[in-house]
């Protein structure tokens, strides 16, 4: 009895006995939630440590640093996990799995930590969207079947789509208003009104002007720079995925499984 829909016949290595097929599926059901939570924890702590404030606060989501840093930091784990899921299992879901896990962790953190515990309004602390970037990275890998093509095409798209997919939720916050005789965006005003004692205004690492010399297209320039760096990051973390998955005990475990099947 075939255990996979793609089995190529009775001689396929994927053909398992009914007992083994049943156990294999139970193993899937056991491992998938564990892996999801493990990946959620790993990706979440990685992104929060390296891009935390830009993702925490609406008044940090600027046209320069947020757009540059977030994709560069976020593509790391998707690349490494893609190596494992693609090379060992031919599953083109590594990036989507990481980003769904990241967003799951972020929403839990923002709701329980920032809103319920600390009392910040959710409009100040929502996380950025990255799913479009992840879907593109996965589909490019699957359709090209080549990590280098994914690094050259998918990774830049991962970065270029970041700002584009978030405009729809960010635009309302960049509407101008006047307060105390000064021009502010609504995002600035939200950050001003809802006090973060340890985060004075000057701590915000946001656009302060230099990219405006390029025709005012700060977001576009930042996106292309992030796209370029993402190519390198993707290749580096794909390789790290390869190194990290050189686990001899895993091979040993599956070798034993193959022997049992035989």
């Amino acid at each position: 009895m075939s255990a996979t829909a793609q089995s190529v016949g009775a001689k396929s290595a994927g053909d398992l006995s009914p007992v083994m097929a049943s156990m294999s599926r139970k193993f899937d059901f056991l491992l998938v939630p564990i892996l999801f939570l493990a990946i959620t924890g790993a990706v979440h702590i990685h992104v929060m440590l390296l891009a935390g404030d830009w993702d925490f606060w609406v008044d940090w989501k600027d046209r320069r640093f947020w757009i540059t840093i977030t994709p560069i930091v976020t593509i790391c784990f998707p690349a490494a996990i893609q190596y494992v899921t693609w090379v060992y299992f031919r599953l083109p879901i590594g990036a989507t799995l990481c980003i769904v896990g990241l967003l799951f962790g972020e929403w839990m953190n923002r709701y329980w930590g920032f809103t319920i515990w600390s009392g910040f309004p959710a409009t100040l602390t929502w996380p950025a969207m990255l799913i479009a970037s992840a879907l593109i990275l996965d589909t490019v890998l699957m359709l090209s079947r080549n990590w280098l093509a994914t690094a050259i095409v998918g990774a830049p798209l991962f970065a270029l789509l970041f700002y584009a997919q978030n405009i729809v939720i960010l635009a309302p916050y960049h509407v101008p208003m006047e307060h105390m005789g000064q021009l502010m965006s609504i995002a600035d005003m939200i950050g001003y009104a809802f006090v973060r004692t340890a985060t004075p205004e000057y701590l915000r690492m946001i656009e302060r002007g230099t990219l405006r010399t390029f025709g005012g297209e700060s977001a576009l320039i930042a996106s292309f720079f992030a796209a370029f760096i993402c190519m390198i990051m993707y290749a580096a973390w794909w390789k790290l995925g390869e190194i990290g998955s050189r686990q001899t005990w895993i091979k040993s475990m599956f070798d034993k499984s193959a022997k049992v099947r035989a």
Partner: protein, 412 residues
């Protein structure tokens, strides 16, 4: 036997650790006493602090006003206030900031300030989250952190659900800052979650790990991706690009007027120099801190450059007021400040006449040295103190002078 002892000890350790969860006292304020004395004594001298009320309803306003003098004896180990921000210290946004002003200049952005100068602030906040909150004015200085002013326990009454923060944009729309835009954020996160979950389920609905791994190991990986999978992937790719394009275009149409985040360093002029903050000069000759007595003694020469006789009324350091009980007119005007009433003793002739230089020996003693954790200044590597002396003039005005200098502890 050995294992039993280890198990027993482990069990006891787990029980003791678990029991600590039963003791979770409320955090009283937010650690302003934990700041090193040199940060509190030699940076920002807050005075005339006033809170308009100590009870505020949700949506009602409270005003904090006062002045601060930036010490000329600013510690070398921290950056000067070239980038500073007038802020509020509170446990989360219990009150929302409505307005803040420094010498009449709006304080939404950061300032460049000067040492030795005096600034006057006004902060208006609005009750938001019911409960009791310890609220302070605060000056954040880049690389120095938050330098906290006198605090007040403030009772915020009412219902959080009633809180609103209406503002009007330059496009004429009136919005509630507390909730603005969030429903749209949730909507788009859900919209994008649908294709993501579909993509994951598309793959994990089939056996995931062992059969696929075996097939890949056997060189049969091409069989693991079907023609339908490819069609779904192409559809996902195109659909993603289309949705991104459509959503970003719709946002640009809905919000044609947008500005980048605003940030700047704003110059602000200090309060003018007047006889009240410049006519009296003091020079520290000697200062000791007597640890058993929790008292500080100073010998100093005071020159009265004003046109009126003056008497030393108060020594203020790190938001603690040591006042001279022999000057009955001195009232506690500030409910927030820590007050060592009668804690200041002056030896010798208390009146200093115009043009006269008098040598004063003063003692500032109170348990507040200990409870406010100021006595730990003897552990500082530069062993120095700072503060402000306030003199009452016969003309009814108050004259002030910043003092600072080395201090030597006395252990007997």
């Amino acid at each position: 036997m050995k294992n039993k002892i280890i198990s027993l000890l482990g069990g006891v350790a787990i029980m003791v650790t678990s029991l600590t969860a039963l003791y979770a006292p409320q955090a009283g304020a937010h650690g302003e006493r934990s700041q090193e004395p040199f940060l509190r004594m030699r940076t920002v001298h807050w005075y005339d602090t006033n809170f308009s009320t100590n009870r505020v309803a949700v949506n009602s306003e409270m005003t904090m006003t006062g002045k601060f003098l930036l010490a000329e004896a600013w510690p070398e180990v921290i950056m000067k206030p070239d980038v500073a921000f007038l802020h509020v210290a509170e446990p989360g946004p219990a009150v929302a900031k409505v307005e803040s002003w420094l010498n009449g200049v709006p304080a939404a952005k950061s300032f460049k300030l000067e040492l030795g100068k005096t600034y006057e602030y006004k902060i208006i906040v609005r009750g938001r989250k019911p409960g009791e909150a310890h609220i302070h004015p605060m000056l954040n200085v880049q690389s120095a952190g938050g330098l906290v002013g006198p605090g007040q326990w403030t009772l915020i009454e009412g219902n959080y659900e009633d809180f609103t923060y209406p503002v009007t944009t330059l496009t004429g729309e009136t919005i509630d800052l507390n909730t603005y835009g969030f429903a749209n954020v949730v909507k788009w996160h859900i919209i994008w979650a649908i294709p993501a979950l579909f993509w994951l389920l598309w793959w994990i609905r089939r056996p995931v790990f062992i059969p696929r791994f075996l097939m890949v190991q056997n060189g049969e990986e091409d069989a693991l991706i079907t023609g339908t999978d490819k069609k779904v992937a192409i559809a996902m790719f195109i659909g993603t690009m289309v949705l991104v394009t459509m959503s970003s275009n719709s946002a640009k149409e809905a919000y044609p007027i947008q500005i980048p985040l605003q940030s700047a360093i704003i110059p602000v002029e200090a309060l003018p120099v007047t006889p009240q903050n410049s006519a009296v000069k003091a020079k520290i000759l000697k200062a000791n801190y007597r640890i058993p007595g929790r008292s500080m003694t100073m010998t100093l020469d005071v020159t009265n450059g004003s046109a009126t006789p003056i008497k030393l009324a108060e020594f203020n350091s790190a938001n603690v007021r040591f006042t001279n009980s022999l000057i009955p007119t001195l009232a506690k005007t500030d409910s927030a400040e820590l007050w060592a009433k009668g804690g200041l003793h002056v030896q010798g002739e208390p009146t200093i006449y115009p043009g006269e230089t008098a040598r004063l020996e003063i003692e500032a003693s109170d348990a507040l040295w200990e409870t406010e954790r100021l006595s730990s200044l003897i552990g500082d590597p530069d062993s120095a103190f700072g503060g402000v002396l306030y003199f009452h003039g016969a003309d009814g005005k108050t004259y002030m002078e910043e003092i600072s200098g080395p201090i030597i502890p006395t252990f007997q």
